[in-house]
């Protein structure tokens, strides 16, 4: 085989104490599409950022056209012909298309920006990507799909030989996605090397010449040509032992506590979601980033009220138009981003724990300070929160203890339904297990627990039942007996139920 245009060897990268990449290698040749796939957190995006000079590796080398090169910045990567198109587009919306294509390297004439040349040359690359708009159109007037094409045009205008695309179709309509895939094939035929990251295995199947699978920051395997199939990819993406880490026991589940019918969220207005959670049941909600899991929880809790749908708690209808209404009905939500949504970081442990129950414990509007102190003491004990005292600002606690404060705040409301969004993200092992034990304990007391997680192991380890979302719709439901990583990933990547009844992929 020819010399790869771009090769990465044994790349290692750590953030804080966490190793995101543990010696990953990959190579891409001119005129081929290399798909890089893996679960959330497998290290794909980190690797791409290193290839494009956004971040430097801790160790490992990058080889371009057979020569070892250091890529220290995005500028350097660009000058070597490597362009990255981010998952979130990086365009200046208030500037026009031409200005965006030439942003940071504007051609000049006597110190002035040569807009004539920008427009002339922008037209050429816009035509290459098949985008029929004038270079003087404002980016904010374009659709997401068109903006993506502007990004690609920008890459072409720097004569990129390696185009790295991070989930380019994730926010595109079906038609726009088809257009983009056609363009990628055309670029390949012109000798551009394309590194393509996607969660949509169907897309990868039809497009990629080779597939590189990452798992936990390592190479998990490679597929090429005829070996590329949906089951083969899933097998490589998961495939590890389930540890005995999870304290999960199956509980006799009772009557439905939370019933959701026809729930439509703002993020995915076209898909209605139906499900229920019974008393004493722990239900996991799986899906890829952007599948709409957080949106479902936040709609239930009244943060972003749903567009439509009926929600019942213990048989009583709930109009979840505000968090307070949801709380009154017996719901509690431990949000995904604890620093942003869960805690008032500068306030003490006591003030954070009591925040959701102040109105319940009030005495004609006055704080019930005795009750507040008692509550704090109780939760610090029950949750085993490690803090020097009750007044310690929570910003000085560890991630695990911060999360316990958030959970403690919600336990204090004595919820009937506990919603948890990524409850163990950024939490150390010890606190993780304590959080699991707590979920178990609540379920055994008859609380309905619904948790969202991107950690497949956790989903499998902790759930009585798993709901899998894919792009806003409920792609499937798996009972404990049917649970396997393959089954979950299969549904999450949009392949439909695997065994029983084949469903056409939309």
């Amino acid at each position: 085989m020819s010399v790869p245009v771009l090769e990465a060897r044994r790349i290692v990268k750590s953030f804080g104490g966490v190793r995101a990449l543990r010696g990953v290698s990959l190579a891409v040749h001119a005129g081929e599409v290399l798909a890089v796939i893996g679960e959330n957190g497998a290290g794909k995006s980190t690797l791409m950022k290193i290839l494009a000079g956004v971040q430097g590796p801790d160790t490992g080398e990058l080889i371009i056209d057979g020569q070892v090169r250091a890529i220290r910045s995005v500028q350097e990567a660009l000058s070597l012909g490597i362009a990255l198109i981010h998952q979130e587009l990086n365009l200046a919306e208030t500037l026009d298309v031409g200005a965006n294509i030439y942003l940071g390297r504007e051609p000049q004439r006597m110190g002035w920006i040569d807009s004539g040349r920008i427009n002339r040359e922008s037209r050429v690359v816009l035509e290459q990507v098949g985008l029929a708009v004038s270079p003087e159109t404002l980016v904010s007037e374009l659709t997401i799909g068109q903006q993506q094409l502007v990004e690609i045009a920008k890459a072409l205008s720097v004569k990129a030989r390696v185009l790295i695309m991070d989930e380019p179709t994730s926010s595109l309509s079906g038609y726009e996605a088809q257009n983009l895939l056609r363009l990628i094939r055309e670029l390949r035929s012109r000798g551009v090397a394309i590194v393509y990251i996607s969660h949509r295995l169907g897309e990868v199947h039809g497009l990629a010449d080779r597939v590189e699978v990452l798992r936990d920051g390592e190479n998990a395997g490679q597929l090429s040509g005829g070996e590329i199939s949906h089951p083969a990819m899933v097998r490589l993406m998961v495939g590890r032992e389930l540890s005995q880490f999870y304290p999960h026991k199956v509980h006799p589940s009772g009557a439905p506590v939370l019933e959701v019918e026809g729930l439509r969220t703002r993020a995915h207005p076209r898909h209605a979601v139906n499900f229920q959670v019974r008393a004493g049941e722990v239900v996991g909600m799986a899906g890829l980033v952007g599948a709409g899991r957080t949106e479902v929880l936040e709609a239930l809790f009244g943060i972003t009220p749903a567009l439509a749908g009926a929600v019942r708690v213990d048989g009583r209808a709930l109009a979840a138009e505000s968090p307070r209404a949801a709380m009154d009905a017996g719901l509690a939500l431990v949000p995904e981003d604890r620093k942003h949504d869960g805690l008032v970081l500068e306030m003490g442990v006591r003030e954070n724990i009591s925040l959701a129950t102040l109105h319940r414990d009030q005495r004609r509007g006055f704080l019930n300070r005795q009750q507040e102190r008692a509550l704090c003491e109780e939760m610090v004990g029950a949750m085993r929160i490690k803090t020097p005292n009750a007044e310690q600002p929570v910003q000085f606690l560890s991630g695990g203890n911060q999360q316990k404060v958030v959970i403690g705040k919600w336990l204090a409301t004595r919820p009937r339904v506990l919603l948890l969004d990524e409850p163990t993200r950024g939490v150390d092992i010890g606190a993780k297990q304590e959080i699991y034990l707590l979920m178990e304990e609540l379920a055994s007391k008859g609380v309905a627990v619904l948790f969202v997680s991107s950690d497949l192991e956790e989903i499998l380890g902790m759930s009585d039942r798993v709901l899998v979302l894919h792009e806003g719709r409920l792609a499937g439901e798996l009972s404990r007996g049917e649970l396997s990583e393959e089954a979950v990933m299969h549904l999450a990547t949009g392949a439909g139920p695997r065994v029983s009844h084949p469903v056409p992929v939309s």
Binding site: G17, A356, G365, F396, D428
Partner: protein, 333 residues
Amino acid sequence: MKKILGILGLLIVVCVVTASLSDSFLSAYNVENVLRRSALFGILSIGVAFVIITGGIDLSLGSVVCLVGCGLPWLLTVHHWPLGIALPVVLTVAMGIGLAHGLLITKLRIQPFIVTLCGLLLYRGIARGFTGDQTVGFGSEFKGIRMLATGKIPFLPGFELPAPVVFLAVVAVVAAVFLNRTIFGRYLLALGRNPQAATYSGIPTERMTVLAYVISSGLAGVGGVFFVLDVNSAQPVDFGNFYELYAIAAAVLGGCSLRGGEGSVVGVLVGATLMQVLRNMITLVTTRNNVEFAIIGAVILIGVIADELARRFAARRRTARAMQSVPQAGAQV
């Protein structure tokens, strides 16, 4: 509390310096006067402190002072409304202004700076409009009600307490209890720090924010009444000019962070007093009143810089202590 000690120290230093430079500073007449002015500005400062605690700002209160301060004598002397109607009307208008600000800020999500800046222009313009730019006042009438602002209560031999000080004390106690002892005060402090977390905890953040603006404008209205009762006449062109800045400066000096979520009533009172002592010092000690703004600006800047430096020093010490107590930080992300 440490925060208040710093500003209290500054107040004492300014007092000592002024007293040593001017014999008349400690005279009963002057002290009573400074206290009266401090009390009047204290009312405004406490009001705006509530808005600052939510992370907002109220630039309109000088104009609310003008609107109310001109409106009350105008209704009483030009239109001969009875006091029992005119007074509730002007105060209701003031609170209505706060309600409007709060709704624009929470429902339409317009920035507080813009909303209240427009208010600043609007209410002064309205006051100048309905008075035809003519000075309005009570003349020799309404002596009874004017005692509220001009009256004195025997306190110590040779020294009488100005009536507004007593009123301010009542406002301050109510405000302090509200802020520190009620769930609503806690809600304000929480949403000022992190509105997201407050919302996720079921706190009615929008209603609380509106309430803060109603308190601010309402107290500005009360202040306007007291100011005009005190000086007896109001010129719509400049009555209450820059008062919002004095009030905001007092609140910030007193420990309110413009980032929101921080502040104490006692601090605000000390801040308001410091502002008035400074102005008094300039009048007594210098012969040039025209440098007043420069001196006040410089002192506020120094106070805020000192506060920021102290905060950084404390943070660094805390970090150093934390590093010592935990030998290895572990893998916390």
